[in-house]
Structure formats: C-alpha cells, structure tokens
C-alpha cells in the first residue's frame, strides 16, 4: 500500500488521524509524505509548525523513518504544470494576471481536483534521485489528508466531471493516469468517524459512493473512543435507573471517606448526582453501540483510537505518537478491531 487517503466528516479529527498514520508508516524506516489539499494548513497546525511554503518540509523523525509535509495549492500546481509541459515563462504570469488561473482552478469542472490529485500522483512517481523513469521512489508512502466525506467522492472521481469537457489532451490523459492509480490496490481510502449519528451517516454514505466509483476502501477509524466503564449488568441498571441507590450510595460514601475526601455537598445530593451521571454514561454507551453496529455492517476493518486526556486542548507530539502506536497494528494488517460486542 503506497497511497493512503484519509477522509471523514468535519470535526472528526481526520487531519490528526492522517498525521498519526504518517508517523506509523514511517516507523520502520520509510520516508512518508503527508499532504493536504484544502489550503487550511492543518498539517502544520497539528505538528505545531508555522504554515508551510509550497514545498516539502520535514516534520518529524519517526522510528527509523521520517514524515514530510506538503500543502498542495491548485494555482501553484497549475502554473507548475504549465511550466513543465509548455515552458510558459512570462505567459504563465500573464494568464495569472488575466484571472485565467483563478478561472481554471475554481470553476472548470473537476480541473482543480485533477491538479490536486495529479500532484499526489506525481509525488508517488517521484524518484529519489529526481530523474524520470524507474528507480527507487522518493516516497515510500504518501498520506493524503483529503476533503471531508461530503466531497470525497467527487474529489477522487477525477474522470467523472472532466470526461465531458476534456475528452482529449494532456489533462484528460493525466486524469486517466491518476484514476488508474487511485483505483489500484496500491491505494486505500480510510474514513474517520466518531460514534455519533451524523459522522456515522456520512461514513456510510461515503463508503457507498466510493465503492460505486471503484475506489479501494481501507479502514474505518473510530476516533475519540471512550471505553465503557461498569459491567454489562450495571450499565443496564444505571441506564434504566434501577441501581440499588442505598447500597451503591453507602459504597460511594465509604470510598470517599476512606480516601479522606470531604465534599461540601449533602450526602444524598452527592449520591444522586453520581448515580445520575452513571445513567447518562449508560445511555451514551447504548447510543454509541447503535452507531457502532451501523459501522460493523459496512464489513470493513475498524480500528478504535482512544480519546486522549487533554484532547480538548489540542494535539502535541506525544499525543500523536500515542495514536500512531494504536494505528500501527490494525491498519497495516487490516485486522478488524471491534472493541466490544454490541449488547
């Protein structure tokens, strides 16, 4: 597997997962290129770096390998493309001044996506020595932090929109080459989700869309998983509000006393609130099980990433490495990793 495409609904942490995956892939000595295409500079942010220029930038050593970042810009990609194929020189700048580059990269159907995916394709073919043809590749793997689930099918289906407009010519053949790589076994599209209704719905929709286009699906990454506390019977009782509040209350107060904790809240208020929180926990676990079952039905490998302490405050390198640890097994071997059976 050389090209890993990572998508997911906004807010599910797809950039973080793409970054952790790049670190995972690099550990055994690989040179990994981590790319983004939406002009958000999300990769730089995840690694706590200032925004990148339009060039590969080394981000981190990981094990014996390294991760490099590249923020692909469609305008720069088009100018570069014109330069390479047509040696435009000043004419390229004239096109830019006239607004032709803006035009080509914003409205021409699918052209923007061909340029962006084309740049990823170029990175895959790039040789370590910079020449053309066979030779050891510059990048052992490329991870693409792709557009979100709502746009991913259109983005990757580079032949679709363009077919009616550019039936011939270099853009057309470029699109065909890109599509050949995207639909080959060298590619896997991973979908990041949370155990919530809307991200799971978008995951199911994206899996159906991508499958219809013939793109190879990889792993469903369930992000920010909080393992359930309480055993099955207690969860059920807490959810139904039938926990023995007297016995549990005595145990809670006993434990607090034993630990030397005094709380300036009446004992029964404290116990009621703690038991109510357990009930909310149980209802959340139930709701998450429903969502997990929908994911299991997709029949793809699933890997869970834990919600890390302090996740609200953002990622740091240690946290990324922790996620990379979790990704290292299942994603490479594609073993399903369903954390617990649904009740």
């Amino acid at each position: 597997m050389r090209l890993h495409v990572v998508t997911g609904k906004g807010g599910t942490g797809k950039t973080t997962v793409a970054a952790a995956l790049a670190l995972t892939l690099a550990r055994d000595g690989a040179r990994v290129l981590l790319t983004e295409v939406e002009g958000r500079q999300g990769i730089a942010q995840v690694f706590g770096r200032p925004p990148f220029p339009y060039a590969e930038t080394e981000l981190a050593q990981s094990g014996r390998g390294s991760v490099h970042g590249l923020a692909i810009d469609p305008k720069a990609a088009l100018l570069e493309y014109l330069e390479v194929f047509y040696r435009l020189g000043r004419a390229g700048r004239t096109l830019e001044r006239l607004g032709a580059i803006d035009f080509a990269t914003t409205i021409a159907p699918g052209l923007r996506d061909v340029l962006l995916t084309g740049k990823v394709y170029d990175a895959l073919r790039q040789r370590a020595d910079g020449r053309r043809g066979d030779g050891s590749p510059a990048w052992d793997a490329v991870v693409l932090d792709a557009p979100p689930t709502g746009r991913i099918g259109r983005f990757l289906n580079v032949n679709g929109d363009l077919a009616g407009l550019a039936r011939l010519g270099p853009i057309h053949s470029q699109a065909e080459s890109v599509m050949a790589v995207l639909t080959s076994p060298a590619t896997a599209v991973h979908v990041v989700t949370l155990l919530e209704d809307m991200p799971v719905q978008e995951t199911c929709d994206a899996v159906a869309d991508l499958g219809a286009i013939g793109l190879p699906l990889g792993t469903i990454v369930v992000n920010q998983v909080r393992p359930p506390l309480l055993n099955e019977a207690d969860l059920a009782a807490a959810g139904a509000g039938t926990l023995d509040s007297r016995a549990v209350g005595d145990a809670l107060l006993g434990a607090l006393a034993q630990a030397g904790v005094t709380v300036t809240v009446p004992a029964d208020t404290l116990v009621t609130a703690l038991i109510e929180q357990a009930g909310e926990h149980a209802r959340r676990v139930d709701a998450e099980d429903v969502q997990r079952n929908r994911l299991v039905e997709l029949g793809l490998a699933i890997v869970d990433l834990p919600q890390l302490a302090g996740v609200a405050e953002g990622m740091d390198h240690a946290a990324l490495n922790e996620l990379a640890d979790r990704l290292s097994q299942p994603v490479n071997s594609r073993v399903p990793a369903v954390s617990r059976p649904a009740r």
Binding site: K9, G10, G11, G39, R40, L82, F85, Y86, L95, L98, G99, A100, D102, F103, A104, T106, I107, A108, P109, G150, R154, D161, L165, L168, G169, P170, H172, D197, M198, Q201, L229, L230, D234, A238, L243, V248, A251, L252, G254, A255, L256, Q258, A259, V261, V263, T264, V265, A273, L274, I275, E276, A278, E280, R283, R284, G310, V311, A312, E313, G314
Partner: protein
C-alpha cells in the same frame, strides 16, 4: 467575559436576522434550530434556514424532503402568537431560480444545459454560501399576501460547513468578482462579434494564449465556457449588485451574528479568528455560543479526589467514581481551552450549552438546548493545571 442575553435578542423586534456561524462539526445547525424554536415560542414568526441537518434533526423539524421552501413545524407552543417554519437549502435549485428570475426562458435553458453552469451551481467552492445568502435575501422580502406585511419577522440562518470561517463572508464577493473577471470578459467579448471570428479576435487579444488553453483544456471546453459566459452576461450586474446588497444587509443593525464553537482547540481557534474577522468587517456580533460543554452538578468533587476514592472502592462504586473523574478531567481540560476565548478584546458576550449524553433529535431536546442558552451560564473559569 460577559453573559449572552439571548432572550433579550429574541424579544428585540428590530432584530430580524440571526446568523449562526462557526467551523464544521460544532453543532451550528442544532444551535440555529434551538434559537429559532425559542424565538417562535416567545412570539416571533420565525423561519430557520438550515444547510445540511442531521437526518433525525431534520425529521424533528418536519423536513422530510429537500424542497427549498419553508414548511411549518408542528408541535410548538404557539400561545405567545409566534410560529416556526423550517427549510433546507437546495443550492442548485436556488441558483436555478436566480437564473430564471434574470433571463428569458430560452436563455435560462441554454444556461442550465451548459456543463459550466452545472459545475458552478453544484460544486463551485462558495456557491453554497452564496446561495444561502441569496435565499436569506428572498426570505427577507417575502410578504404575507393577506396583510402585505413581511411573512417572517425573524430569520435564523445556519451557515454552510465551510473549509474556513472566511468563506462565508467572502464567497458572495468572490463569486461576483469571478463572474466579472477580466478573463471572462475577454472570453465573452468575442462572442458578440459572432461566429468563428471570435477565435481570431481572441488570438489577437491574448497573443495565442487561447491556443495554450485549447491545448490544456481541449477546444470543446473553451467553446462551452464561451457560450456560458455570453449567456450569463446579462446577469453579471445582477450578481454583483446582489452580493453587495447581501453584504450591506449582514452589516446592518437588524442582523445579529452568533459565533458557535465547541470546547476544543481547533474550534476555539476558528471561533477566535471569526470573532476578530467579524469585528474587522464591522459586522454586528451578538455573542459566542460554546456547544457541547462537559458539565457536572457536583463539581466540588474534583477529578483527583474522585479517582483517589475510586481506588478505594469496589465495583460498581469504583466505576461510578471513575465516570465522575473522567468527566471532571474533561471539564477541566475544556475550561483551559475556553479560557483562550477570554483573551478576546473587548470581551464577547458568551453562553455555554451542556453536552448531552445523546444527540438532540426532537423538539424537547431543542427546547432544553435553548434553555441552556437562555440561562447564560458564564464560561467556566480555568482551573489550575492538574
């Protein structure tokens, strides 16, 4: 940080438009729906324009289909004289309506058939934002046929899940200036010459650049774009003018912006940025809503204490204490992130909405979200680093 007085805003009859904006995944749609519901039950004739609601939230609002017109929501308390209608934006259909309104039927059909129009109306980055604003403009001028008065006295708008918060303000402008660009004018001008002459003129003007465009994009594409531009030509002024009108309306005294955030680093950074941007543009910022905030009614039992007591307990008391400890760790972590919002100067009125154990999917859920908003709990103060 001051507290956001949402009821004051909803009861202010001069407030006619509330725009909910923020980054993706923070609960904008839920917030917009909750605000609209509360306004309706406080007596406003309200319509909420949603962009892409979760399926079950859409059902709760009675939006079973995407038909681009407001539908009355059933199950409301209308004793105060208000009402709530909801609609889901159909971007392409809204664009089609704009085209129809500005051209003859034959011209409109030529535009609809053009592949560039199909691309522009369904995938141009910013079209969704532009059409949301277009729809807002339409709702704004709708009148009740019986009384001649405005049909809606409050419009609550949810904004599209933009790649960045910027898109929302910039897109109308961008689409307008794009359609007005020199390049498009260059392409459209020769069309008036007619027939194949345009190729010559274009060649002369651009010094063979069209040849390059032809080679890169294919001749068919250039022809398509040329006919598209000439068909749209009559509407150029319209687009620009409407974008300007929309901008002026957003900046006006009858509009209020609510920036929606979640207590996470990325969302807080986006929200901070958006607040600064709105201020720089002199947009009427009403406040900040932080959604899905972890809370506990017994915050006097700290995470560390609960974890220590859990170590001394047996199941299930152990896990019940762990549940509390986990919640308090999360709460403290969120509070540190939200403290970044208090660096905003001058301070922004803010309110928090507590996280729910399960997704909000019915009117009661929306009511309770709105009640949180109205309670105007201040942002929690940042605890010392544990």
């Amino acid at each position: 940080m001051t507290e956001l007085a949402i009821d004051g805003l909803l009861d202010d009859r001069d407030c006619r438009v509330i725009v909910c904006c923020g980054s993706g995944g923070v609960g904008k749609t839920t917030t917009a729906a909750a605000v609209a519901l509360r306004a309706a039950e406080r007596g406003r004739r309200t319509v909420v324009l949603t962009i892409d609601p979760a399926r079950r939230l859409a059902q709760a609002l009675g939006l079973s289909e995407l038909d681009n017109t407001p539908r009355l929501v059933a199950g409301l308390d209308t004793s105060a004289g208000g009402s709530l209608a909801a609609m889901m934006l159909d971007m392409k259909r809204t664009f089609d309506e704009v085209v129809e309104a500005h051209s003859t039927p034959e011209k409109a059909q030529a535009i609809f058939d053009n592949p560039f129009y199909q691309s522009l109306s369904s995938s141009f980055a910013g079209t969704q934002e532009y059409m949301a604003m277009e729809k807002l403009g339409q709702l704004r001028v709708q009148t009740d046929p019986a009384t001649g008065k405005p049909l809606w006295d409050l419009i609550v708008v949810d904004t599209p899940p933009s790649r960045s918060a910027l898109d929302f303000l910039d897109a109308p402008q961008r689409l307008g200036s794009f359609l007005d660009s020199r390049f498009l004018r260059l392409l459209s001008a020769p069309a008036k010459v007619g027939g194949r002459a345009y190729v010559k003129v274009l060649s002369a003007v651009t010094g063979g650049l069209n040849g390059i465009m032809n080679r890169v994009l294919g001749a068919q594409m250039l022809t398509d774009v040329q006919s598209f531009v000439s068909a749209l030509d009559s509407m150029f002024g319209g687009f620009r003018q409407r974008a300007d009108q929309t901008y002026a309306m957003l900046a006006g005294p009858q509009t209020a912006f609510l920036v929606v955030a979640a207590p996470e680093a990325d969302a807080v950074r986006e929200a901070t940025y958006f607040v600064e941007r709105l201020r720089a543009e002199n947009m009427p910022l009403a406040g900040l809503v932080v959604n899905r905030v972890t809370a506990s009614t017994i915050d006097r039992l700290s995470a560390v204490e609960a974890a220590r007591a859990a170590a001394a307990a047996d199941s299930p008391a152990r896990e019940i204490l762990q549940i509390h400890a986990r919640r308090m760790y999360r709460r403290d972590s969120e509070a540190r992130v939200m403290a970044r919002l208090s660096r905003l100067h001058p301070p922004v009125p803010a309110a928090v909405i507590a996280a729910r154990p399960i997704d909000v999917t019915d009117l009661d859920g929306l009511r309770s979200v709105a009640a949180d908003l109205a309670r105007a709990e201040p942002l929690p103060s940042a605890p010392a680093v544990a």
